[in-house]
Amino acid sequence: MIANVTWDEESVAERCRAFLAEHDPARMDRLEFLRARFDAGLAWVHFPEGLGGLGAPRELQAVVERELKGTPDNDPGRIGIGLGMAAPTILAFGTEEQKKRFLRPLWTGEEVWCQLFSEPGAGSDLAALATRAVKDGDEWVIDGQKVWTSVAHRARWGILVARTDPNVPKHRGLTYFICDMHAPGVEVRPLRQITGEAEFNEVFLTGVRLPDSLRLGEVGEGWRVAQTTLMNERVAIGGAQSRRSMINVVAATWRSRPELRTHELHQRLLALWVEAEVLRLTGARLREQLAAGQPGPEGSGMKLALARLHQRLTGLEVELLREEGLTYDDWTFRRPDRVDFTGRQAGYRYLRAKGNSIEGGTSEILRNIIAERVLGLPPEPRTDKDVAWKDLPR
């Protein structure tokens, strides 16, 4: 171990080159290569030494990605929930044993993670969730139902929030667990959505027994732990979506179909093109602010604006297509690995975009967040804060 090293671009690049000199990806198994990369601290450089990182500034990760370009990667699109949500939460709240056990196979992709937060009765009001966790000796017994769980059918582990004390106000009676998705009593059912496919699942938890060693954070601290996960989720969503892709898709359709154009659609398209360009510039300005070390509140608005733009653009495209807009490419019940906005027809884009204003925080909740945290407006009076969860109307 190298102690008290101050990492910079050159020393990180040097470490990458030394690593590659000893680990030739052409002569190694892909997984062995990824494990070795993790052990060399080149998985996520801002993580501590011994946990896949170097304790280096986050921005130096770009140096690693540049130096290791073309080598086998961990297919981040497939393990996004583990990388974007589970890992930062485990790092912040996990015990040393938990960090050692979970982070390496999470990063290499050997173990896929899913998120067990939303419930049929707890969406925007997540803290009202009803899945119970009851202590039984050294174990917890979990009963409840979760929903909108991506990749649950392929997941080894899930991050789970459950109610351990129904007798205190809702935010205080929650505890955060790592759920063993292979445990008896875990049942995963695909949830078919309006596009015809099933990106998500419902997860039924019936008498699932989890050892206390899978608890993350203290009993009753679940809400605070979950905040870390949720903050990282919005960062992941805001950063993941391409800001120009949808306008480019619709503009390409427009250019290729001159016979379908009308004056009225033209005016709407031009207005949306301006909106897309303004959003692109807003994103560019936001990245400049971040790079200059002056993060602005603009980030809170990006997801809200993108959802609205995507919905209006995709709606316009279907309308433009007239008779073709009456068709749909494929209603086959499938389980896609990822959302493919550009590889399918206009009807799919239109329907899938409807989820943009619901997933990862509804647009209404995001407006509340902007109003209260950015503009400093007072919250709505609350009737649920100081009432025991069991006494809340449901």
Binding site: A271, T282, R285, G301, E364, A371, V374
Partner: protein, 384 residues
Amino acid sequence: MSAPTMSLLYTEVEEELRAAVRDLLTDRSGPAAVLARADTAASGGVPYDSELWTALARDIGAAGLLVPEELGGAGASAREAAVVLEELGRAVAVVPFFSSAVLATSALLACDGPAARDLLGRLASGETTAALAVSLAASPYRPPEPAVELGADGTVLGTVTGVIGAEVADVLLVPVRHAGGRALCAVERTAPGVSITPVTSLDLTRPIATVSFGGAPAEVVAEGDGPVRDALVTGAGLLASEQLGIADWCLTTTVAYVKERKQFARPIGSFQAIKHRLADLWLEVVGARAAARNAAAHLACWGAGSAGSGEVATAVAVAQAHCGTVAVHAAEECIQLHGGIGMTWEHPAHLYLKRAKADEIALGTPGDHRNALAGLADLPGPVS
């Protein structure tokens, strides 16, 4: 002077300039002072604040921002002028900065020759103020036919409507037609045959006037209509920053008001119906800032010869299409969310609404700018 940056942020120098302008306006151009100026305009007088203009133009040096150093200016760029306009928009200040230091100056910067250079030097020092005798409603995409004729005897004849800043200008820059085509002429405002008639205007803080030339002596400063076209493009792009300033004031003022104002025993800003509207408005203003900065940065690089005119035109059209609408929306929300007080003459909100609505029409409507993007962004209209 280093090459202008394409950054969408504000440089330290720009922030210093902003602080100086804001201090001055806080001191001399608060809501009560501007309302008094508006009263003057409403009763047929000239509302401009000449002491404020002197302090801004000479002491801070704002008049010469766009003028090169060798002509006595600051040799700054559109970026700095944009920051001044943001602050003037926030205060709806009654000074001829936009008409003289932006529109007239941009036209002269596109002229060659000693007459234009001499005039630029006088404008830069702030001693002299000029106005471009073109309607504020002119579109940069279809500049109007010159309404004034330059005779063989060197005098001009004709009338231009919708002109801003003429009543306080020392020099009028007039697009003219003559036997050889088109030209830009300079006419002293006090020359015989020049008459300026104020028009009862929607915007009390930047009224329009009708300018008539009845055989006034004129000097040709440039042949062709290039200078007017350049001035309209630069003016449109920089007007977006004024619109940003207007929108920013309206949002900030409204947010402060809904935190204070109580109905149904709680601040009205705690109702989601109001919070969500303000969150949406905030998002529009955030976008306006990015778009206005982008236009200013492109204009600055265009001036320095490092940006193509297609890119500049796109940046200007996007900024105008967005910011023009946002400023009006912000002013309308400001009135609505202030309730009854927002409808009174006493509260300054109406001054912002009037400026925002006039600015929406100025130098191309949002629709004109969107239509220009059909060509610029390769989104052609219907075939027939």
